[in-house]
């Protein structure tokens, strides 16, 4: 037995504080505040399976849409290699998103493979393909949760935001997933034309059976760069938005988790620089980003193993270009428009 696994070190707290073990043995932190450098592997893979999407949302940070799949997306062998490596490294939590992940030709095979091999899977979908049959299949696979974007409490608002999407069909999909018994999360992106509906949307999410309602500030990147004038809420709208959310959080405190980030992107980036999350962003072509809100790429899963990329990730956060980019964001918040011009670190 090596020293690191010798529980006697814990009995004295690992730092000579025998007797207060119980107070320090279980220390809850978020993945965002986990010190990634101490971990053998990531805790979380946020994997964008494809950039193809049946919707063309005004604010999409990935610029996804019909015909927008990357030309070099991972092939079947590639996606299963990544999933296998993630399971072998015991990555506990994997989200599959896109684009629309359910459009990927091997979506269900991947979900079933990952779940069978111990990963807890979250599916982030626009909800259009949540038929009763598909929902049952997700339930049978043991999917941990399904997150559906519902940025409005009315057809008019939702359809304006989610171009090619249909509110009624998405709500039906949400009902289907809830009826199947898969934990449901609702995601809401604020814009100048939907902030006033957030209270109703929280209520609707609860009525539909959601366990969580998640929102934050909409990012100036991707499609939003072109549509920002149509999207960006005023400071007053944001103030009322978060005030409503605080009230709803209190109202649903025992029934549904209302989770929102008031912190702007810059503050979040500063925090991440100090303490990178144990989270890898995997793009459809296998490139791995440090974090969605930065343009830095730290690996390529077509040519490197996940384990190698994890090593790269930890070094890359210390690259001065990353800190410089965050510092420049202070003076020029518009730099987030460049997030799709990848910089290899």
């Amino acid at each position: 037995m090596d020293d690191a696994s010798d529980p006697r070190r814990a009995a004295d707290g690992g730092n000579g504080s025998s007797g207060d073990f119980a107070a320090q043995a279980v220390q809850a932190v978020t993945p965002g505040s986990t010190t990634a450098g101490e971990l053998n592997a990531p805790l979380y893979l946020a994997w964008q399976l494809t950039n193809e999407c049946n919707f063309a949302c005004l604010h999409c940070i990935e610029q996804s849409g019909p015909g927008r799949a990357f030309r070099d997306e991972l092939d079947d062998a590639g996606v299963f290699r990544v999933m296998r490596q993630a399971c072998e490294l015991e990555v506990p939590y994997i989200s599959l998103s896109g684009g629309e992940p359910m459009l990927h030709s091997r979506f269900f095979d991947l979900v079933e493979y990952g779940a069978e091999h111990g990963a807890q899977l979250k599916i982030e979908t626009n909800g259009q393909y949540l038929t009763k049959e598909n929902c049952q299949r997700l339930k049978d696979a043991g999917v941990r949760s399904v997150q559906v974007s519902m940025d409005g409490a009315s057809r008019e608002t939702f359809n304006k935001m989610r171009v090619r999407g249909d509110f009624d069909e998405v709500v039906q999909g949400i009902r289907n997933i809830a009826e199947a018994g898969v934990p449901l999360e609702i995601n809401y992106s604020p814009t100048k034309f939907n902030t006033h509906e957030v209270g109703q949307a929280v209520d609707l999410a609860y009525e539909l059976g959601a366990q969580s309602f998640i929102t934050g500030k909409t990012m100036y990147t991707g499609n939003a760069v072109k549509t920002w004038h149509m999207l960006v809420p005023s400071e007053e709208q944001y103030r009322e938005y978060f005030m409503t959310l605080r009230a709803k959080k209190a109202w649903y405190v025992f029934d549904m988790n209302v989770h929102f980030h008031e912190m702007g992107l810059l503050n979040e980036m500063r925090e991440r620089l100090e303490n990178p999350a144990a989270l890898l962003i995997v793009l459809p072509n296998g490139l791995v980003k440090l974090i969605n809100a930065l343009p830095f790429v730290c690996g390529d899963l077509r040519t490197e193993s996940l384990e190698q990329v994890w090593g790269n990730f930890q070094r890359a956060w210390k690259d001065p270009r990353v800190a410089n980019f965050v510092a420049e964001l202070e003076n020029d918040p518009g730099k987030t428009a460049e997030l799709h011009k990848w910089i290899y670190v």
């Binding site: 690191a4 279980v26 993945p31 111990g118 941990r144």
Partner: protein, 87 residues
């Protein structure tokens, strides 16, 4: 007792991590705590875990009682945090 449905454990150099994937909370475990979780995963009855750790790791210089107490306290914490459930 077993780990709750949405809880995953992974051994780490410093001990281990429990990841509660519903709340997305991570619990960093020191080596004793990680050893307790391994016993839970192995199906060891809760009442036997402190004794097993004591037998495995106490070195006769008086820390056995401490290990037993730590393990008992930790299993209580796991239950309070909803990280374990009954079989």
């Amino acid at each position: 007792m077993k780990l709750a449905q949405y809880v995953k454990f992974r051994q780490e150099k410093f001990g281990g991590v429990l990841f509660e994937t519903r709340s997305e909370k991570v619990f960093a475990l020191n080596p004793t705590a990680a050893a307790v979780v391994r016993e839970i995963q192995a199906g060891t009855p809760e009442s036997e875990i402190p004794g097993r750790l004591k037998a495995s790791y106490a070195d006769g210089d008086g820390d056995g009682a401490q290990i037993e107490a730590d393990a008992t306290a930790f299993t209580r914490q796991l239950r309070e945090q909803g990280l374990v459930e009954e079989d």
